[in-house]
Every structure is written in C-alpha cells, then in structure tokens.
C-alpha cells in the first residue's frame, strides 16, 4: 500500500484545485471584480451628479455593493461540485469535512473577496472620498469580506440542489450579513465625521472570529444534509 497523504497535502490540493478551476476561466475571477465596479458606478447614474450627495452615499453604497458582489459569487462555491458529484467524493474523503470546507471558503475569499479590497479605494476616489476614509474602507473590507465568505458558505451549502438558488441564498444570507455591513460601513462613516473607527473595527473583528469558528461546522453539516 502507498504511504497515505498527510492532512496538509490533501488540504493544499483542495485549495489548489479550486484556484486552478477559477483561473482556468479567468473571466470568473475578473467578473466579481467588474461587477463591483459596474454596480458601484450605477448609483451616481441613478442619482444625478451632485458631488456632495455622492460623498455622503459612498460608504453605504460601496459596502452594500461589495456585499452583493460577494454574495453573487456564493452560488459558485459548492454548486458545481454538487452537480457533478464531486461533493459526494468530498464527503467520502478520509479527511474531516470541516477542514476541506474551510479550504473551499479560503479559496472563495482569495478569488472574490481579496480583489474587492484591492480595487475599492480606486472607486472610492470617484466618490470623492479622502485618504483616511479610503484607508478605513480598505481595512474594513479586508476583515469584512472574509467574514462574508465564511457566513455565505453556510447559505451556499443550505441551498444546494434547490433551483432558483441565486435569490434564495440572498435571502438566507443577507440578514446574517447585516452586522458585517453595519460595522464595516460604520467604520468608514465614523472617519468621515472625524471620529475614530476603532470601535466599529473591533466589533467587526469579533464577528469575524465568531464566523471563523462556527461557519465551517455549520457548512459541513449543511452539506451532509444536502446529500442525504
């Protein structure tokens, strides 16, 4: 019998595969990115061109858009694995499902959360945000998007194999996203009115920590149910 692969090599392989699949269709990764840019640009179009109004809208608009773009890419997380039977194989893996799920979440974040963090400041400039605001925006998104991927994973797992998934995920997940949104946009708003963002950011950190603990467990359980 061959030597068995260690947990790390298996997890690495899971992560590498998800990233490889996504990169194979570069458009996938680029798409979340462009969605964010395009959707954020829709708001000024709808509201005429008052720069003051734009600046006031900016934190909520950018955060809500980031949230929606993360959410849109959720359906990709497990759905294709479910449709082609890979998920059954993952469940029958000799590694704990929780760890594999964690890797899949990480891959999702690397491919859809991280790019947003990088591009958000550029769009912020179009909304006339200042340097300090832009910094806080990037930092809050860095923590926030990771939390969004974690929480979203539960929704994605729960809605597997159900049609009209896109919208159903939205309903399941949006309420859970609200704390992330409130603290994230709150941090930027605080900076705009000249206050410190620390309070909001540490609350955001707490949400992230909670999500990190519970989400893989809940997702793994949901996946198992989806396959029964």
């Amino acid at each position: 019998m061959y030597k068995e692969l260690g947990t790390f090599s298996v997890l690495y392989c899971v992560l590498a595969r998800d990233i490889r699949v996504a990169l194979r269709r570069q458009s996938d990764v680029a798409a979340v990115f462009f969605f964010f840019i395009i959707a954020a640009s829709l708001f000024p179009l709808g509201s005429g061109a008052d720069p003051k109004l734009l600046k006031a809208m900016a934190p909520s608009v950018l955060w809500v858009t980031a949230l929606l773009s993360c959410m849109l890419s959720l359906s990709r997380m497990y759905a294709s694995d479910h449709a082609d039977g890979t998920l059954e194989q993952i469940m029958l893996s000799n590694q704990p499902t929780v760890l594999i799920v964690l890797m899949k979440i990480l891959a999702h974040w690397l491919l859809s959360g991280l790019p947003l963090v990088l591009v958000a400041p550029l769009i912020g400039v179009q909304f006339n945000l200042s340097g300090a605001e832009l910094q806080t925006l990037a930092l809050s998104l860095l923590m926030g998007t990771l939390a969004l991927s974690l929480i979203g994973s539960i929704g994605a797992a729960l809605t597997l194999g159900i049609r009209g998934t896109g919208v159903l995920i939205a309903i399941l997940v949006l309420p859970l996203y609200i704390p992330v949104l409130v603290f994230g946009a709150g941090a930027v708003n605080a900076v705009s009115i000249g206050m410190s963002a620390n309070g909001a950011l540490s609350l955001l950190g707490a949400v992230l920590a909670m999500a990190l603990v519970f989400s893989p467990l809940a997702s793994a359980a949901a996946l198992r149910i989806a396959l029964e």
């Binding site: 019998m1 692969l5 392989c13 082609d84 893996s93 396959l227």
Partner: protein, 213 residues
C-alpha cells in the same frame, strides 16, 4: 495489492430503506468479506441506488445497522470512508479540469499519492490518450465515464461501490472494466455493484441480490 493481507467485512443487519414515504426494502441482511462481488439486481425504482448510498454512508439507513469490521459505519465516519471507493450515477469530475487534474484531486481526497506517469498510463490504457490535456467538458459521454472509472486502477480501497458502472461504455471499455473487477475480487477486494446489463463476474464469491418488491 496489499490489502489481501487484511481481513475486512461489511455487514448489513435488518437494513430498511425508505425514500419519501415509501418503503423500498426491508430487513435486508448480508455480509461481504474479502473476494465478494455483490451484484444488486432489480427493476427501475426498486431502491438499488438508495441502498448503495446507504452502504457508503452518504445517507443513514431508516432502520437497521451497517457495520465495517464490526463497528457502525456512521460512527467510524472518515475511518470508514477511506476504505470506500464510490462511483455513482454522477461521474464526479469537474468539466473545467483535464482528466489528469481530476484524477489528482479525487485521489487526494482519498489520501492516495498521485503519480503522474502511472495516471497517464492508466488513462492511455482506457483510450483517452488524445484527451489527456483537454478539459473534460470536451469529452463525450462515454469518455467522461472512463475518466471517472480510472480511479479504480489507481486507488487501493478494499471496497468498491459502483452504481451502473457500465453505462455509456462501449464494448471494449465494458470488457476492460469487467476484467478489472474480476482481478480485484480475486486479489481479495470487495465490490458492490448494480447494472441492468447481463454480467457474470468470475469472483471467489459472487452473490446476486434481487431487490424486487
């Protein structure tokens, strides 16, 4: 194949299968040990797929228990899964990846190291020489099945659970697969399978089980 040395046994006791609100099979008892090929038969809708998925641990039996070397498979979990190789109605391959990448991934899931040369050889032997580096979406129905089945040549799980493995395969591939199952069983492996084609497997212990109600 080293697992010949180990003695394994899969035991089903009073297993009851229910889908929706309907009773499919009841009080099913059997025992598979090294060298057994259990061939499930039955008309469409009699519960073959349901039984196979239950035996793998993908769903829990409605009543009764399934045990592996004396321990309940649901409590063994990963301990049990690493001994099982399941190929169901769905091929379990990712259409964007090539055949080799797909194999590498499924083998990683089962903890088997991946050797490129060996995998290439198996795929070639299965007639996929041309498609090695194509995304599997570009393969025909039967070629996709072959990629999924390639794991049988590469992994060394002692228990195979195969749901209609001959589907979409042409005559040559069917023959290859049948031979492989026989070699495996003779080396001490266990196979649980279904198919609507007529097959007789030359194994140390060939059991036919009809599920008709």
């Amino acid at each position: 194949m080293v697992f010949l040395a180990n003695q394994y046994a899969l035991t089903a006791e009073h297993v009851v299968g229910v889908r929706g609100e309907r009773l499919l099979f009841e009080k099913l008892n059997f025992k598979c040990s090294n060298g057994t090929v259990l061939y499930l038969q039955g008309a469409n809708g009699t519960g073959k797929t349901t039984l196979l998925r239950t035996l793998c641990g993908l769903s829990k039996p409605y009543a009764g228990s399934i045990s592996w070397c004396g321990e309940n498979i649901n409590s063994l979990a990963e301990e049990y899964y690493k001994h099982v190789l399941y190929i169901g109605h769905l091929p379990g391959i990712k259409e964007d990846l090539t055949a080799l990448e797909n194999l590498q991934f499924s083998m990683a899931l089962s903890g088997t190291p991946f050797h490129l040369l060996q995998a290439t050889e198996v795929l070639k032997m299965l007639g996929l020489a041309r498609g090695l580096n194509l995304p599997t979406r570009m393969l025909s129905q039967g070629q996709k099945r072959r990629v999924a089945l390639a794991r049988l040549w590469l992994q060394d799980s002692p228990l195979w659970v195969l749901d209609e493995p001959f589907t979409a395969l042409d005559v040559a591939a069917t023959e290859l697969l049948k031979k492989k199952i026989e070699t495996f069983a003779n080396a001490g492996g266990m196979v649980i399978m279904t198919t609507h084609q007529e097959v007789i497997i030359d194994a140390p212990n060939f059991i036919q089980l009809r599920l008709d109600s």
